[in-house]
Amino acid sequence: MNKFRIEDLSVRYLDNNESLRKINMEIEENAITVLFGPANGGKSTFLRTLNRLNDLADVKEMSGKVIFHEDNILEKTTDVIELRRRIGMVFSRPVPLPLSIYENVAYGLIMEGEHDKKKLDNAVENALRKAVLWDELYDRLQDSAYAISGGQQQRLCLARVLALEPEVIMLDEPTSALDPVATAKIEELLNQLKATYTIILAPHNIQQAARMADYAAFFLMGELIEFSSGKEMFLNPRDRRTQEYVSGRYG
């Protein structure tokens, strides 16, 4: 089953900077789809299109279709707030909101209008447990989210997304600011979470791409060069440009 079907997606910014050209791909449910390639290849743009976060940026043109639950979410009529609740996102630097740990995790739910203290408490605990943070933080939930380490902050950002019980989790270079130990924790977590969630990951290096990919998409200068299973992509790439990138000849 696929979660997303992307047809002829093109995006161009006002300054013609990073853009996407005619992307066609499907994103499989309960698997990790890795988007990799050199910088400015369009990976972030692609992710930010799937939850319409691009609405905040200076997008000049957007064409094609992104089918999610039979609807083209690029339509003007899409309820983008509901969409973003179902498609969570973790960013490259951990950005805790300037609130307490508890308020960070409960943020999305409170914005949704949930005020029942019991329900919120439960949701916060569940989300923190899923992100393997509960044991570390349960006795300091009222502390500032900036009082914890960078690795903890990034898992907190993941917990914040999980609290909304989304269907899809997108992560844009989530470990680029973390040390190897914290990185390993996040990767392990993603491997557990893929049983229940659809995960789209833009890894911050090719080794991570190879480690994590169930499916892999190679982006180069705004184009999707190759899309296949992770194994095939890293053992037996078809396109010459993919071969050269995977073997480290550029990038």
Binding site: L56, I81, E82, G88, F91, V95, P98, M111, E112, S144
Partner: protein
């Protein structure tokens, strides 16, 4: 470069450094001198009676209570009109307005508004509020006039304060399903609040000390009783200082200095509060 010319360069450099240092220090001499002089000359006049009694004997004796009350009224009145309007405009410009010609025009207007001499505001207030809208010479007219004068400061500082909140907070909040207004209310405004409050106080502080805008719109030369409604005229500290310094023959000097001291305490006190808020917020800030 040989050794002696290197040494002379070093000497020139440290001499220049010392000079710049001294000039910088010199800038605090006027303010210290001014405040010290006013305190020395004005403090003998300060007494409980001076602060709480009405002027008597053609303002040559008694207190300045009506002027203090009037200034408080005008400050509150100005705040009532200018704070909601100014902060709302700041929110709009910082968070909603697109970066286009219309927005640039608004910005330009605000900058120019803050450059207009205060006496022009006074005449404008006289024409619009006192005469055209028929509010008369009153606290209402004076507050509205001072509000227009204060608006640019409040708008620019609010905008600035919201602008300095990192954009990543907005992106994250949006990605978690918050609407734009929720993001502003829960994240941007609380983070910008100390900056906004500081701007509001600095704007009001300027209004407190102004004479020209209230001269034609609400300030009274002498009133035997306190104003009882916003449509009454009022005495006010800055105008009272002008009156007792130029219009009343045989005025005791210490009453003049005493009145100036009270106004100065008013203004510097507000400044101090603004500084405290800013310092405390900066220490607590996480970004």
């Amino acid at each position: 470069m040989d050794k002696s010319s290197r040494t002379s360069t070093l000497i020139a450099e440290s001499a220049g450094y010392t000079l710049v240092h001294l000039i910088t220090l010199a800038t605090i001499i006027p303010i210290l001198g001014l405040v010290g002089y006013i305190i020395a000359k004005g403090s003998p006049a300060i007494s409980w009676q001076f602060l709480t009694a009405a002027p008597t004997d053609g303002m040559r004796a008694g207190g300045i209570f009506p002027a203090i009350v009037g200034t408080v009224y005008l400050t509150i009145g100005t705040a009532i009109f200018s704070v909601p309007l100014g902060v709302a405009a700041g929110i709009y410009i910082s968070e909603y307005a697109a970066d286009n010609a219309a927005t640039r025009l608004i910005r330009l207007a605000i900058i120019n508004l803050s450059g207009i001499p205060s006496v022009v505001y006074g005449l404008f207030g006289l024409g619009l509020f006192v005469i055209f809208l028929n509010f008369g010479t009153s606290i209402l007219s004076a507050s509205l006039t001072l509000s227009i004068m204060t608006l640019p400061v409040i708008i620019s500082t609010s905008e600035e304060a919201m602008h300095s909140v990192p954009n990543s907070f907005r992106v994250v909040s949006t990605s978690l399903g918050a609407s734009r207004w929720q993001t502003i209310r829960k994240i941007v405004l609380p983070q910008a609040l100390p900056g906004i409050v500081t701007g509001v106080i600095l704007g009001l502080e300027r209004a407190v000390g102004e004479t020209a805008p209230i001269l034609f719109t609400g300030a009274a030369f002498y009133l035997p009783q306190l104003p009882s409604s916003p449509l009454d005229a009022t005495m006010a500290l800055p105008y009272h200082i002008f009156v007792i310094s130029t219009q009343v023959p045989g005025m005791p000097v210490e009453i003049q200095y005493g009145t100036v001291l009270v106004l100065l305490v008013f203004v510097l006190g507000m400044n101090l509060i603004a500084t405290l808020i800013r310092t405390r917020a900066r220490a607590k800030r996480v970004w």
